[in-house]
Each structure stands twice: as C-alpha cells, then as structure tokens.
Amino acid sequence: MDTRAFRFNYAEGSHYYEVDFPAVLDYKNSVLEKAGVQPKCARHCLTADVTQKGWIERLKENGFNPQEVTLYVHYLFFFSPSLPLLCVASRWFLEGLTMYLEEKENKFVLSEALESSAVGSRALVLTITAEKVAEYRKPDSLFMTHNIEMKYGTSDPGAFISSCGWTVGEVLNYQETCARFNRQDLFDPDRTGMHFALGHKK
C-alpha cells in the first residue's frame, strides 16, 4: 500500500511505476480516487507477476524507457555520432517483497531490473534474515496460520544483490538504520532481522 507517488513533490517529467496484484491496485486506486487524491507525478499501475518473464516488457509498453532521448540530442546525432544520448537513472524499490519470493525469483527480478536500467540507477531492497524466515515458517507460526508464507531470507543482503549484478552500496540493519536517523527510540529488539540494502548500477 505504497503512497509515495502521492506524498512527494516530484520534478516535472517524473514517472512512477507500481507493480502489484490486481486486487491491491484496484483497492488502492478506488479508495484514493474516491477521496480525490491525485498523484504528484505520472503514475503508472501495472498488474504483473514479477517472477515471470515479461514484466519488464509490460513496463516498457507502459512508457518505461531508461534511455530517454531528447529531441535536441537526437537532432545533433545526425551531425556527430560521437555526441552522447541522454540516459535517465531509475530507482527500483523492493519493499516487502523479497521475503515472499524464492531466492531464484528474487535474483530474476533484480537481474531484470539491472538489465533495463541506465547507469546510475539504484535498487533499494528490504530483506529479512534466514533465521527470521525459519521462525515465521514454523507450522505453529501465526504467519503460517494465516497463509502468509515467507520463503527467502539472508544475513548478507550485500552479497545477495551483488550476485544479481548490482554494485553494493550501503547495507544497514534495523538498529543501524535507527541510529542513522537518530531515532533509536524506534528500535525494538524483538524485531531485529531486517536489512536495508542499496545497489548501484555502475
């Protein structure tokens, strides 16, 4: 239920793509439309299964183009092939996703994103540890009781995103993130196991 397309003031020309299940997007869109809430950028909603081939193509069909070419540059192109094309970096937010996919599915998503990204793009990935996943997968776990199945965890998200081709930037655990924002009051020792990892496309 991400609302960032509605909460931030984006530069003109910014595009925001949301990929989710149809029921989630339909619900969100109907609630926000009914309330008269408007996105502050060009928002595109896509229903796609990111674990299956074709989701990037769906993005491109809906206007995603990491190598946008301005008319100006295009015009000059005819005169000098050494002139450059303008590329626009993307941000890929994987929030509340990796734990519900298998490792190979996560790799597929991140690798596809990398391949379709301009240099300078970033992947922002939330992971939880394998220990937490094991805990949540126990038959008596309330997650399992409520049909919420976690599948993937890692204690080394840096190595994980690196294995998908991204250059690892900062990786913070929950406690470190609280410290980074000087909000130690938001740290709960019972909720350790989260990591926030940043990958760059060099």
């Binding site: 931030f8 941000r91 993130t177």
Partner: protein, 111 residues
C-alpha cells in the same frame, strides 16, 4: 493465486488484498501517534479505513496483527523506520534530479 480470507482481514476489504499490505497501512497510520512522528502519510488512514475504529482512534485488529511479529508498538516502530528509509531514498532521488541524467556515447548503442 487468490488469497483466502483470514481472521486478520475484514469483510469490507476485497478478497485478494493481502493482509500484509493492510498491516503496513495500519502501521503507517499508527506512526502518527509516535513521539516526534517520523513521517506523515495522510493516505494510510484512507487505505486502512475498513479496519479503523473512529470512536477509539485505534485499529482493534492491531493486536492480532502485531502478535505475528511481536508487540503492537514494535510493529509500528519497525514499519516506521522502514518507511523512513525508503522515504529518505525518494528524497535523495528527487534532490539529485538532473544529476542522475547523464550522457553515454552513442557508440554504446550502435557498436
């Protein structure tokens, strides 16, 4: 694959809207009650409205939800820090703006 309704969902929430998606909306709304609220998400309440009790300004299901992962407060604070991190990254992207646009030699595309 369609998700089954669970005791954590609500009749007014359409089938298929996962519990976890709503849990996060609830936590983001509850974060406004934290000391020095770390962010403002005025739309979280709208999204979590079917589960909201206006009389008590609470989400009666929060305790059930939180029992999945610990305490209600821990659920809210950990979701808050997660939201802060992603929001921070959005702000960085917005501030960098045009700096993220860069040029590549045309030869990259054709040779």
């Amino acid at each position: 694959m369609e998700q089954e309704r669970t005791p954590l969902t609500h009749p007014e929430v359409p089938k298929g809207v996962g519990g976890t998606a709503l849990f996060v909306a609830i936590a983001r709304d509850e974060a406004r009650k934290l000391p020095h609220p770390p962010f403002s998400d005025p739309y979280a309440r709208l999204l979590a409205a079917p589960l909201y009790d206006a009389k008590t300004d609470t989400y009666p299901l929060l305790n059930n939800i939180a029992s999945l992962v610990g305490t209600p407060l821990g659920f809210v604070t950990s979701t808050a820090i997660r939201t802060m991190w992603y929001d921070h990254q959005v702000n960085i992207a917005i501030q960098q703006g045009n700096q993220d646009q860069h040029f590549r030699p045309i030869s990259d595309f054709f040779f």
